[in-house]
Amino acid sequence: MLCALIFAGCKKEDVKPVEINKNKIAELTSDKTTITLWSEKAGLTTGYNKLYVSLKEDNGKEISNAAVSFMPMMDMGTMKHSSPLEQPLFNSTLRLYEGAVVFTMPTSAMGSWQLDVSVNSVTVSFPVTINSTTQKHVASFVGTDENKYFISLVSPLQWKIGLNDLDIVINRQASKMDFPADDGFTVAFFPEMPSMEHGSPNNVDPVLKGNGHYLGKVNYTMSGDWRLHFKLKKNGIVIKDDVSLDILF
């Protein structure tokens, strides 16, 4: 009897708008639609950034069926280039369009970033400031196949001492505006503490998950500076013998 009452009490379903637990980067209104850009991290930095977009009509109603796309652009005066990205898709749990951009350099006197967000073929431009990280979370290299690639640590980077999931994404630079994810690699890796010159055991080489993501495990035996060394092969041929990313926690 009591149980029934409790269950009855729990059944009440308030259809409250989901609270957005992200960091707001900027907000623009275009054609009666408010477009808000959110980030997983408090600010945007070089490397892999999870980005979210929320859309609202002027009556406050959420739009969940729009076609949303990103186009990041670095303007260096004499030339422009884009960067690797993951186009946003609506996440019905978060009630947000979820995507990602790998910013390959920080905002500086050399140039500035803007992020174009297209909603159903209407495009707004967010000027964004990309801070540099003290650690190298993204690295570029030219492989033995003459292609230029980017390798990035996928955030959030909530490292703990012990065994951690490791997620990296590899993109090939097809052109200055096109960086397709590359699923063709076999990845071997080992972590190292540069200030200690030791590694750690029981790491798991990342294997392809799809969309250029490779998932593995990294064992941090202590906190501090770590360098992750990757060796990349394609069809048995070494494309890059050693490219490294740095972390600190």
């Binding site: 001492i161 200030s195 200690m196 035996t221 501090g224």
Partner: protein, 660 residues
């Protein structure tokens, strides 16, 4: 090392009932007026380490001039059990800098019970026996309302100084005893004069014990000991110690009915806490590639309840229930120059829960035979108690990190008196121990002996052994001879095994080892003691020990002392006593450098001299002890001295003690 003086402390009775047990009296009751007995153990200024080292079959693992680690017949650390009046206590240091015995002073003690295997004196499952340090309780209803002692000592080598005092108050229903000691030493000089840097130490230890009789047969006992060491050098290790602090407290209730079968029933609750911090700031810069902090703590809470019944004056039944929880936390923070600091847990918040039941039956069969049979069962649970600890160890061990096991020990010891001169004795036991928390969860613990970083293994099997021992004792007119042989047949012997491909964390380490089980190992040996008393004032004694150990792969077991012979000549004339001691240890060449990382050790001989006089002054007794150890200033070390750091050179020790 005024061993000659200390040997007096060892009682030698012909009919020792239990082959695996020896009790070394440290302090007699104050009520004893017999001056010879009062003298025994009067020298409380000798450090606990040296007191233990003088016990037959005991060798000390030495990492400096302080806090030596005891080994009994080649067994040490988790293979032996160390308790203080039945209380479990575990050092906090990951590098074994603070064995439990380092937090106890002779001034706290009545006696040390040494077990050479499993018997009815142990408060836990054990393979190699152990030490139970019995605290000195104040005595109710003593003839003297106030009694006590005060002493001062000095050593020429290391400019060591100690001062101690104890005071006891006794009334019909209440008695209290306080004691304290302060010790300080500088760097010592080895034989030949070379100074051993970072061998200094300083400490104080205080104890307070009280007993209250609230009715005829009911007593309450409380004990508190605080021991604080600081600025302690460990020349054999990479770091020293900033501080090592222990607080040991207990309260016990004892029911002691007379004229009943129940002799006594005692229940004790206890708690102890140890805080330990390593320190590298006093080392020369070139010895410290990276400055680091390495603190550790050990907390133990426990209880025991034991009762002894006597039936028909021939059967003694002891039942003991005990349990404790020990928690170890140790961490390391490194501060590399020009880089971020690094942090890790070296013991990732490990917990041990133990509950045990011990039943033993001692019976006299006729006039000439005695048997002690007993069994002990222990539940042992091991786990990591913090989320950080579990997360850290997840990178080392897949699967369940917690373990619980059931241990059992069974033993049968017997003695038979053939006639008034000869006695035979024998013992057999099946013993087990759980891996220690360090062996299960240690995280890159550096072992200076073999130069490897050690990683724990939660999947370790219990180490087990079959223990056999037998011997004979003979005494006729001026000669007493005692000989004993013993053997331990191990199963699942726990040892470190190299893990290829793992990189060491400690600078200069040779690699990484993980604890594992070796299917079998054997340890056997013999002890022979001879005493000749040709004149009433003259005693000649010879104590000889030999151990041999190897595992199934024919690798010599580590930390096994070679043949050792200690020979003394003592003269007790009126109030004077003189002792000359000749100690010889053979070379140890039975070593495994490939598997256990040991190097051989050469033989040595040293000569020690001691003299003393007790002067009764009214109702007080003034005792003066002078000893000259390592008379010929030999540069020597024992096989168990880590990194082969030489021991003290010639050392003149003067101890002055006033008992009242």
């Amino acid at each position: 090392m005024p061993g000659a003086v200390l040997l007096r402390a060892q009682e030698d009775t012909l009919l020792r009932s239990v082959v695996t047990l020896q009790e070394v009296i440290v302090q007699q009751d104050g009520r004893l007026h017999n001056s010879r007995e009062r003298k025994q153990g009067a020298d409380l200024q000798v450090p606990t380490d040296q007191l233990l080292e003088k016990i037959s079959g005991v060798n000390m693992i030495r990492r400096g001039n302080y806090a030596w680690e005891p080994a009994i017949r080649g067994l040490n650390a988790g293979q032996i059990n160390v308790t203080i009046s039945g209380m479990a206590i575990f050092g906090a240091c990951t590098d074994r800098m603070d064995p439990a015995s380092s937090y106890i002073e002779p001034n706290n003690l009545k006696s040390v019970a040494v077990s050479y295997g499993t018997n009815n004196e142990s408060y836990g499952s054990t393979i190699g026996g152990g030490f139970n340090f019995k605290l000195k309780q104040p005595r109710l209803n003593s003839e003297k309302r106030f009694s006590g002692l005060a002493g001062l000592g000095f050593e020429s080598n290391a400019d060591a100084l100690q001062t101690l005092a104890a005071l006891e108050y006794s009334s019909k229903n209440f008695a209290v005893r306080g004691n304290g000691i302060f010790r300080k030493a500088g760097n010592y000089a080895a034989g030949g004069g070379s100074r051993i840097d970072n061998s200094q130490y300083a400490k104080w230890n205080g104890g307070l014990s009280a007993v209250y009789r609230f009715s005829d047969h009911h007593f309450i006992y409380t004990d508190y000991i605080q021991d604080e060491g600081w600025d302690i050098g460990y020349p054999a290790l990479l770091m020293d110690v900033a501080f090592a602090r222990a607080k040991i407290a207990s309260v016990a209730y004892r029911y002691q009915p007379h004229s009943k079968n129940l002799h006594h029933w005692e229940t004790k609750l206890y708690f102890n806490t140890i805080d330990h911090a390593m320190d590298d700031t006093k080392r020369p810069k070139d010895q410290v590639p990276v400055h680091m902090d390495m603190p550790g703590t050990s907390r133990t809470t426990g209880f025991y309840s034991e009762a002894l019944w006597t039936f028909d004056n021939a059967h003694h039944l002891t039942v003991r229930l005990n349990g404790y929880r020990n928690r170890l936390h140790a961490e390391m923070t490194m501060y590399p120059e020009g880089a971020a600091s690094m942090f890790m847990l070296t013991i990732p918040d490990a917990q041990r829960d133990v509950a045990g039941l011990d039943i033993s039956h001692k019976m006299h069969i006729g006039q000439n035979a005695e048997i002690v049979a007993g069994a002990r069962a222990d539940y042992t649970g091991s786990s990591l108690y913090s989320a950080e600890g579990k997360q850290l160890f997840s990178g080392m061990h897949l699967g369940n990190l917690g373990r619980s096991t059931l241990l059992y020990n069974i033993y049968l010891n017997g003695a038979y008196r053939m006639n008034n001169h000869a006695q035979l004795f024998a013992g057999v036991a099946r013993a087990m121990r759980s891996a220690t928390l360090q062996e299960m969860y240690g995280f890159y613990l550096f072992n200076r002996s073999d130069g490897f970083d050690y990683i724990g293994n939660p999947g370790l099997k219990n180490e087990a052994s079959c223990n056999l021992s037998t011997g004979a004792r003979f005494r006729k007119s001026i000669v007493a001879i005692e000989g004993q042989v013993f053997a331990y047949f191990f199963q699942h012997y726990i040892a470190g095994m190299q893990v290829p491909g793992y990189s060491a964390m400690t600078y200069g380490a040779r690699g990484v080892k993980r604890y594992g089980n070796i299917s079998s190992a054997v340890l056997y040996g013999a002890e022979a003691n001879i005493e000749v008393k040709p004149l009433s004032v003259l005693t000649l004694k010879s104590s000889n020990t030999y151990i041999h150990g190897q595992d199934v792969n024919s690798n010599a077991l580590p930390l096994i002392a070679p043949f050792k012979s200690v020979n003394t000549l003592s003269v007790n004339w009126k109030e004077y006593r003189f002792t000359g001691e000749y100690e010889y240890a053979a070379a140890q060449r039975h070593i495994s450098s490939t598997f256990y990382g040991e190097l051989s050790s050469p033989s040595y001989t040293i000569v020690n001299l001691a003299a003393g006089k007790s002067i009764p002054i009214k109702s007080t007794l003034l005792d003066l002890s002078i000893s000259l150890t390592n008379l010929f200033d030999r540069n020597y070390y024992t096989h168990l001295d880590i990194l082969k750091i030489p021991r003290l050179g010639r050392n003149l020790t003067v101890h002055l003690t006033l008992q009242f």
